[in-house]
């Protein structure tokens, strides 16, 4: 029996699901034993994977989130998934994968480098009871509506109309930009080369942050985060906050954690009136096979991927979490079964709708920037500067942009002469 390791960046309920999945895999066959190790967060996992790789103690498979994709691509530390599957005799229908998802993890020539696994996008959650209580039926579609509802809620005595995670750049910044077809960086969000510069300090995000600030100052948005002692998700499931933006991945968890009798629902990210929805970005993570394992371990990894790709397994995964199916056929099969037509899974199809709203534009293919984690930190800082320290929006974003560009330049210099694969 061959043992190999799989490191992942999820914790809590989602981590338990992964352990369950690993158990099923180990039960399903006798040749391999997968050891699944939680590293708590995506950032931590990337960090520890790198450390372990430098020490030659890396796992065979690691889960890297969307933001870390470019870091992996240039690392020279991986075995492309397509090659891996071919060499181990698995025939995967690669074109069955949602094109948006596949292209995020592929080279420009279309070679898929990592195994799509848990894909998501950002959504808007709301407490239907509360909204009803102030006379709003259905799902909020525009930020104008959100503002009005928030005011009404406040007036009706709700302390926290909208939970705002000031470190939540993914949903509040990246996905907002995608939905409104706003550039995050030049060169098509970096797909065009390592010399991209960020552009988030221009365009709609500036207005969006200005608006968020206004809402925050009026107490309509309330900051909720780990540092504050209560995350936005917790505040939402505990019905303390009535609206929140988070990954579709949390749909399953919310279902479990929402307090007794609370009615809630999910919808696509709101838009500003008068704007056209473009597709949102693929979130979540993919599985990378790292160099340095034995052929047997690679066989095991391949078997594991194949196992994940089985319709039964994919369906289970999408059921117990909120992650969307990653193949067309999978999605079709589930839709056909009526999976999405009733509670508690109703609404999740909207995520796919959001992801596929339009064909990807230059700015909605994804983000391919080096050391993107550091850039996210800069934006998160800027958001907090604006909210907590009353720094003017433009000034905060300009500063963040300048620092982000420095990060990009340093990244470029660290990989001199390299081009995007």
């Amino acid at each position: 029996q061959t043992k190999f390791e799989f490191w992942y960046g999820l914790s809590g309920d989602l981590s338990e699901r992964i352990q369950e999945m690993c158990g099923t895999f180990n039960q399903s066959q006798a040749d391999y034993e997968i050891v699944c190790v939680s590293q708590e967060t995506y950032e931590n996992n990337l960090q520890n994977t790198i450390a372990a790789f430098r020490a030659d103690k890396q796992p065979t498979v690691t889960q890297i989130s969307d933001g870390g994709t470019l870091d992996l691509m240039l690392s020279g530390a991986y075995v492309p998934v397509r090659q891996l599957m071919e060499e181990n005799g698995y025939d995967i229908k690669w074109d069955d994968y949602f094109s948006g998802i596949a292209s995020y993890y592929s080279t420009s020539s279309g070679e898929l480098l990592s195994m799509p696994f848990n894909s998501s996008t950002a959504m808007f959650y709301y407490n239907s009871d509360a909204l009803k209580a102030v006379g709003f039926e259905g799902a909020p579609q525009t930020w104008e509506q959100v503002e009005k509802i928030a005011r009404d809620l406040k007036a009706a005595g709700y302390d926290c109309p909208v939970a705002f995670d000031p470190t939540g750049t993914w949903q509040w910044f990246e996905q907002f930009s995608a939905a409104h077809n706003q550039p995050i960086a030049s060169n098509g969000n970096g797909f065009g080369g390592l010399d991209a510069v960020v552009q988030f300090n221009q365009g709609k995000f500036v207005d969006q942050l200005t608006w968020i600030k206004k809402m925050y100052d009026e107490g309509l948005f309330v900051a909720k985060s780990k540092a504050i002692g209560e995350t936005a998700n917790d505040a939402f499931v505990n019905a303390k906050c009535q609206m929140s933006s988070s990954s579709i991945a949390d749909h399953g968890t919310f279902g479990k954690q929402a307090i007794e009798g609370m009615l809630w629902d999910v919808t696509m990210l709101p838009l500003w009136e008068g704007t056209e929805r473009t597709n949102t970005l693929v979130g979540g993570a993919s599985l990378w096979t790292l160099k340095g394992s034995t052929p047997d371990q690679y066989k095991g990894a391949a078997a594991f991927y194949a196992f994940l790709a089985t319709p039964k397994q994919a369906e289970w995964w999408s059921t117990v979490t909120g992650y969307i199916p990653v193949t067309n056929s999978g999605f079709k099969a589930m839709t056909d079964k009526g999976f999405y037509s009733a509670a508690p899974y109703k609404g999740r199809e909207l995520a796919i709708q959001s992801l596929t709203a339009t064909p990807p534009t230059e700015y909605t293919r994804g983000v391919r920037l080096g050391n993107f984690g550091a850039i996210r930190l800069e934006v998160a800082n800027a958001m907090q500067e604006v909210l907590f320290n009353n720094v003017p929006v433009q000034q905060a974003l300009d500063a963040a942009a300048e620092r982000s560009n420095a990060v990009l330049r340093k990244f470029e210099a660290t990989y001199p002469g390299q081009t995007l694969p």
Binding site: E43, Q47, I50, A51, F53, R54, D71, S75, G76, A77, A223, S225, A227, I228, G229, E230, N371, G373, A374, L377, N381, Q384, E385, L387, F388, N389, R403, A406, V407, K410, A413, T414, Y415, P416
Partner: protein, 294 residues
């Protein structure tokens, strides 16, 4: 006093020293040289290779306003922590030195903070200072929003400083008390005969005479607040909000391990090392000087 009774043996001392020297070489000198190397190159995070960068890494951090902000913050942090902790410890030591009945019990208790892991104290203080919890947070009941270290940088920094100062009380107390007790009792008595009251004696006689200890502790506290702050900050604030509690050692960790900028972090390490060495050096010069009393 120089020792004059020695053993002579060409091999034995080297055998005895070998394990320690090996460890020091492997875990100290090698990494330090490595850091130097990285500081002058751009190291790829995945270890794929590096390119020579000259002084660019240093120029980069020195040209970075946020780095300087961190330096200034570290300095403030260090001074505040040292000052608070040392003043408290000195006051306690002064009174304990009077050796009234029952002092032993107090003396034992004052040492306790030394035993506590910084992160453990961090957790406790985080609760004490949590805005939503029932201790300091209670002020928010009266004046909502007045206290919130999660969003207010000053609150956060203050909270960490208080915790770090608390942690240092034990160590400082031990040294102050020892120093005070080592002073000949007759000096205080002579002061009393000369007509000086306790406070006056403290200022005129005890403090100047334990100046070497004060100075020693100052340096140790400064070094400790440059270095030991890591666990505390990681548990209490993770450097936030908005870097308000990011001190040098935390920044180099964040930049290196989270920001994957090994070279920048190495350059920061070198700067921090030089700083600590400089402090230690000052300390040694002083130690040499103080030998002059008797």
């Amino acid at each position: 006093m120089e020792r004059r009774a020695f053993y002579q043996n060409p091999v034995l001392p080297w055998l005895l020293l070998a394990p320690q020297l090996l460890l020091v070489l492997v875990f100290f000198y090698w990494p330090t040289s490595q850091a130097l190397f990285w500081a002058f190159t751009l190291e790829q995070p995945w270890g794929g290779g590096n390119t020579w960068a000259g002084f660019n890494n240093f120029l980069y951090i020195f040209g970075d306003g946020r780095y300087w902000a961190t330096v200034a913050r570290s300095a403030f942090y260090a001074i505040a922590v040292s000052a608070i902790s040392m003043c408290l410890a000195l006051t306690l030591a002064m009174f304990v030195d009077r050796a009234l009945k029952g002092t032993r019990m107090f003396q034992s208790v004052f040492v306790w903070p030394y035993a506590i892991a910084a992160p453990a104290a961090g957790v406790a203080f985080r609760f004490i200072f949590a805005p939503e919890a029932g201790l300091i947070g209670a002020v928010n009941e009266m004046w909502p929003g007045i206290w919130n270290p999660a969003t207010n940088g000053f609150h956060a920094l203050g909270m960490v400083i208080v915790c770090h100062a608390w942690l240092g009380i034990g160590y400082n107390f031990i040294f102050f008390l020892a120093a005070l007790q080592m002073l000949p009792k007759s000096l205080s008595e002579a002061g009393a005969m000369d007509g000086a009251r306790p406070y006056r004696r403290m200022l005129d006689i005890q403090l100047p005479l334990i100046a070497p200890t004060v100075f020693f502790l100052l340096i140790m506290n400064l070094i400790s607040s440059f270095t030991d702050s890591f666990g505390l900050i990681d548990v209490m604030t993770e450097g936030g909000p908005i870097n308000a509690t990011e001190v040098m050692v935390y920044k180099l960790y964040v930049d290196g391990f989270k920001g994957l900028d090994y070279s920048g972090a190495a350059a920061q390490s070198i700067v921090l090392m030089l700083l600590v060495i400089a402090l230690t050096f000052v300390q040694f010069r002083w130690v040499e000087k103080r030998v002059h009393y008797n």
